[in-house]
């Protein structure tokens, strides 16, 4: 299938925060005022000013302490429920780039509070964020200005371990499948998360719930996506579900 994809191999991630910070540095996003809450995860969550956040999860594996890292970001769905919801509400704020498949929030189009609530709730991965003052939505935009110039997204460029990968979708899917096969030999629970419907493909070595409650789409959301599609079918062209 055409377009781009991220392949994020969490087994290589050391939570250095290079990706989180490179994204902010490139897009001129503010460093917000945070507090030490007894956890390295700061900021605590995605926000209007934070489009990529490294989530830390202390777990127990075979009775011994372990630590999983999840570099959360927009999944750039092939069929983005946020986009369909916005369209059903008459908003042009969310578009999908034809060439790359990047799902983009327009930084100049305002969205009403009640509309944003519906848009956020439509996302199974809880990605959309919004600024009350300016009424603008924000999230990862696949560094669309960089990739159009043939550069890698900032987060991918900064990653020292090979956790963050980016390229043509078929190549990323190949890479993901190959790596999954390697890791499954050592970690039987290794899996790719919803790879068929997303452009941001995460690989984990354990139950995704141990990483983050919204790491994987657990079935409820797919029903929601289908429901949203039914809603918007008269308004938009209905593309294929699987890519």
């Amino acid at each position: 299938m055409a377009g781009k994809s991220f392949f994020i191999d969490t087994s290589r991630c050391t939570a250095c925060r290079g990706c989180q910070i490179a994204d902010k540095a490139w897009w001129g996003l503010k460093g917000t005022k945070t507090q030490q809450r007894g956890n390295h995860q700061n900021p605590e969550d995605l926000s209007f000013n934070t489009w990529k956040v490294v989530r830390f999860s202390e777990v127990e594996v075979n009775g011994k302490p372990n630590w999983y890292f999840f570099t959360d970001q927009c999944r750039h769905c092939l069929e983005p429920p946020c986009m369909y919801t916005a369209q059903s509400l008459g908003s042009k704020a969310i578009t999908r780039d034809d060439e790359t498949g990047a799902v983009i929030y327009d930084p100049k189009i305002k969205v009403k509070a009640e509309d944003f609530k519906k848009i956020r709730e439509s996302c199974p991965w809880d990605i959309p964020r919004w600024d009350e003052k300016t009424q603008i939505m924000a999230k990862c935009n696949m560094c669309i200005n960089r990739i159009r110039e043939g550069m890698l997204p900032a987060c991918v460029k900064s990653c020292p371990t090979g956790t963050m990968n980016f390229g043509d979708r078929d190549k990323m899917l190949d890479m993901a499948q190959k790596r999954l096969k390697e890791l499954k030999a050592v970690y039987p629970k290794a899996q790719l998360l919803n790879a068929e419907i997303l452009r941001t493909i995460f690989l984990v070595i354990d139950d995704p719930q141990k990483y983050w409650k919204h790491a994987a789409e657990n079935g409820v959301g797919i029903t929601r996506i289908a429901a949203i599609k039914k809603l918007v079918r008269p308004l938009v062209k209905f593309p294929h579900f699987v890519g």
Binding site: T34, Q35, H40
Partner: protein, 810 residues
């Protein structure tokens, strides 16, 4: 590092110990994970489970300050199960050497100890030599006084139970680590050790490294791709700093600083130039006089002549026995013995131990010049907490320095590789490059000395100082001076019989002469900037694929050798012991070596003219028995100065018997008021004392405040919840921190007791950000390693108490 960053990627077993590589050397993980991709095992040994442990195949906990017990246990395991690489050990180390009968070890002390002097008479540890002056040896390693047998006896006390009792590491974890690592003793397997401050910042720091070196020699891992003893250096250019000898005890290229009793150049050379009776030993330090003469020519130019010992009398000398390292220096400063202090790019108010005293010391100066890119707790010490500016007499100057992207020059990384970097923008505002600042200070000093004369102006006035063009320092001129020049025409060079012209750059240190015809600012960098160009600026990725080294990427010292001691990686005929990871190989047809730059061009050991592999040692072999260090020829476990238990479980000698004690400072040991072990460390998101990073909002956002990591068990003991404010105190000071309660740090079972350990960073300081917290060094002790005096930041005692919610009390 003995090896390179990149050949870590071909290792079978990476032992990360005394290092939290993922958090402090994040890019190193690229190569460590490549080793894992190829089926290599990653082992992490650390008091707590960190972001490095999360990527390791095997994690083992150990109490801070017990690395020698852990490693000694590994030595014992290897010897008991006879897992040494026998041929390697017999040929390449001093395992077979016979030690004189006066050497002994009993109950924690080696023979020759003087309690009053707190020092050993090392002559009692001498190796026995024959009438020719060559060490006596027993190739069968059976003689009861050979190094091998003495080592076996020494480490027999480091059995699994004893080790576990000291380190708090569960026995099954010890076995897992020992078994996995000892596998690399096989000729076709290789293991590497990566370490950092977790091994060095102890009163036994040097001996920690010695223990690692012994293991790597026993297993035949030195000189091999994917092997070696590899220090992950703590700053981007600290390797450059130590190479250029910004340290009191050496001059550039690791030559010893001259002392007052070295009354002449001849006497200095006589004392410091080793000799060997073994014709197979290269004994490369035998060339020292050439490097000293060339260094003096670089310093004093035309003012250095044959007649005046090349200006040797102008070089500053240390008093005999003087120790001018930081602990001693700041002790003198506190006692009012300094009038002034120039502090470049350093924040001692937060980085030196016992920071309250360090800050107090600064207030005793008449003047201080801080050179830095931002204001710091040091430049602003006079308005810090507890300071009354009206009472501080120190006149403080702050000279704005520019950052590394605003100037051109080289940085030398852990792999001895000097990489040239370009200037991205001109220095902002009035900031200047450090080199430019030093140049301008020098030019002004020169003028003043010319006018006012002074007591002894010659060392200033007679310096050769040609590093600037039209008042602007040109780092290329400095780099070339470091490389070295021919100062006269040399019609027939003794080394290659070729002719060299005056004013041309020397090809390498092989061409330096002791007669004043060459200059060289630093012999180990000779070859870095030659007639062929700036070797440090090269960026060619052509590898020596088997070893995964990149000889055309920048330039490494010495002479661009990437893996040192590589002559130990081949057999007597020059064939690689591990062909799939070949570093060098003897091409018999063309009679030369291919691959990495060999440790000297001599043919393999088994051929005529062959040389032993460890060319920097007078005997040509590596030391398993090391009679040169101040605290013993074999590493021995001693407790940190501030010890959580009453006695050293291993002997009656509680602490390192040769460390200098600072009796005027506060310490404690086995103290119910300070019952917990504390350690200090760093995180990815901040840099050193945080001076560069605490001004960056994106970094402060990720790590905003001082925290203390502690176990769930300790939190319960003290009624502390995750995220709560706590007070951490030591005999020297106290600070507030946020509790980070975690399963990743469990208490240790040591000597039948439960010992709790906590940890903090030293990234914070009172200046910025507001409510960020203070430096952990308010708590650390004034005590250092027996050989280097590096402070024991890694193991001391504290108390941790819950604080009332904000608004009450504190």
């Amino acid at each position: 590092m003995t090896n390179s960053w990149t050949d870590i990627g071909v290792s079978d077993c990476v032992l990360i110990m005394g290092s939290n590589a993922a958090e402090n050397h994040p890019v190193a993980m690229k190569w460590i994970l490549r080793a894992k991709d190829r089926g290599g095992k990653i082992i992490h040994v650390d008091p707590r489970f960190t972001r490095t442990s999360a990527k390791a195949d095997i994690y083992a906990p150990l109490r801070s300050g017990t690395d020698i017990a852990f490693l000694g246990g590994m030595i014992n395991y290897i010897l008991e199960k006879d897992l040494i690489q026998n041929d390697y050990v017999v040929s390449n180390t001093n395992a077979a050497f016979i030690v004189n009968p006066k050497y002994d070890f009993k109950d924690g002390l080696f023979s020759g100890y003087n309690l009053e002097k707190r020092a050993y008479d090392k002559s009692l540890w001498a190796i026995e030599k024959d009438e020719k002056g060559i060490p006596k040896r027993d190739q069968s390693l059976q003689n009861e006084r050979c190094v091998y047998q003495l080592m076996k006896k020494h480490y027999a006390r480091y059995d699994l139970n004893s080790v576990s009792n000291i380190t708090g590491t569960p026995k099954e974890d010890l076995i897992k680590v020992y078994e996995a690592y000892a596998e690399t003793g096989k000729p076709d397997k290789v293991g590497t050790m990566l370490y950092a401050m977790g091994w060095t910042q102890h009163t036994v720091g040097t001996q920690n490294i010695r223990a690692a070196s012994i293991i790597q020699l026993l297993l035949g891992n030195m000189g091999m791709a994917g092997g070696g003893v590899n220090a992950l250096r703590g700053e981007s250019n600290v390797q450059g700093i130590t190479d250029q000898a910004v340290l009191f005890h050496i001059i550039p290229g690791y030559n010893p600083s001259p002392k007052a009793s070295d009354v002449s150049l001849e006497k200095y050379n006589e004392k410091n130039t080793p000799k060997t009776a073994n014709p197979s030993s290269v004994n490369w330090w035998g060339n020292r006089p050439k490097y000293i003469a060339s260094f003096l020519k670089s310093m004093y130019g035309e003012n250095a002549t044959k007649e005046n010992e090349f200006g040797y009398q102008l070089l500053p000398k240390l008093d005999d026995g003087q120790n001018a390292s930081f602990l001693f220096m700041f002790d003198e400063m506190l006692k009012g013995k300094f009038s002034g202090f120039i502090c470049l790019g350093m924040n001692p108010a937060c980085s030196l131990p016992n920071a309250n005293q360090s800050r107090e010391a600064l207030s005793k100066l008449d003047w201080m010049v801080a050179v830095d890119i931002f204001e710091s707790e040091t430049s602003n010490f006079w308005k810090g907490p507890g300071m009354d500016p009206n009472k501080v007499k120190t006149e403080v100057f702050l000279l704005p320095a520019c950052s590394y992207v605003e100037r051109e020059g080289s940085l030398s990384d852990s792999a001895r590789t000097a990489q040239w970097r370009y200037k991205a923008i001109e220095p902002i505002g009035e900031s200047k490059a450090d080199g430019q600042i030093i140049h301008e200070i020098y030019m002004k000093l020169k003028t003043l000395y010319e006018k006012d004369k002074g007591v002894f102006p010659d060392p200033i006035l007679k310096l050769k100082w040609d590093y600037a063009k039209a008042g602007k320092v040109d780092t290329h001129l400095v780099a070339k001076d470091i490389n070295g020049y021919f100062l006269e025409d040399v019609p027939e060079h003794p080394v290659d019989k070729k002719a060299y012209k005056k004013g041309t750059l020397v090809p390498s240190f092989v061409f330096l002469l002791a007669d004043g015809r060459t200059s060289c600012g630093n012999w180990i960098y000779s070859g870095s900037y030659t007639e062929a160009g700036n070797m440090m600026a090269r960026r060619d990725k052509t590898p020596v694929a088997t070893a995964n080294i990149f000889p055309k990427w920048a330039w490494a010292w010495p002479v661009n050798r990437r893996i040192i001691y590589n002559r130990a990686s081949v057999d007597m005929q020059g064939n690689p012991i591990d062909p799939k990871r070949a570093v060098i190989k003897w091409d018999a047809e063309n009679k030369k070596w291919v691959g990495d730059v060999p440790d000297g061009p001599a043919p393999p050991m088994g051929m005529e003219g062959g040389k032993l592999p460890f060319i920097m040692k007078p005997d040509g072999v590596a030391s398993i028995f090391g009679p040169g260090l101040s605290d013993g020829p074999f590493p021995e476990h001693y407790e940190p100065l501030e010890c959580p238990i009453e006695k050293n479980p291993l002997s009656s000698q509680r602490v390192n018997p040769t460390i200098s004690l600072f009796k005027d400072y506060k310490f404690t040991t086995c103290d119910p008021r300070f019952p917990f072990v504390a350690t200090t460390y760093r995180v990815t998101e901040h840099w050193q004392t945080g001076l560069m990073t605490r001004y960056q909002s994106l970094l402060v956002e990720t790590e905003p405040q001082m925290f203390v990591e502690l176990s769930e068990e300790l939190a319960e003991l003290r009624g502390i919840k995750n995220g709560e404010r706590v007070l951490v105190s030591s005999p020297r000071g106290k600070l507030e921190a946020i509790a980070m309660v975690t399963k990743r740090w469990a208490p240790f079972k040591v000597a039948g007791q439960t010992i709790h350990e906590v940890g903090m960073t030293f990234h914070y300081g009172w200046l910025i950000p507001k409510n960020g917290g203070e430096s952990a060094n308010l708590l650390t002790p004034t005590i250092g390693d027996a050989n280097t005096a590096i402070p024991e930041y890694k193991a001391f005692l504290v108390n941790v108490e819950k604080l009332p919610a904000k608004g009450k009390g504190r």
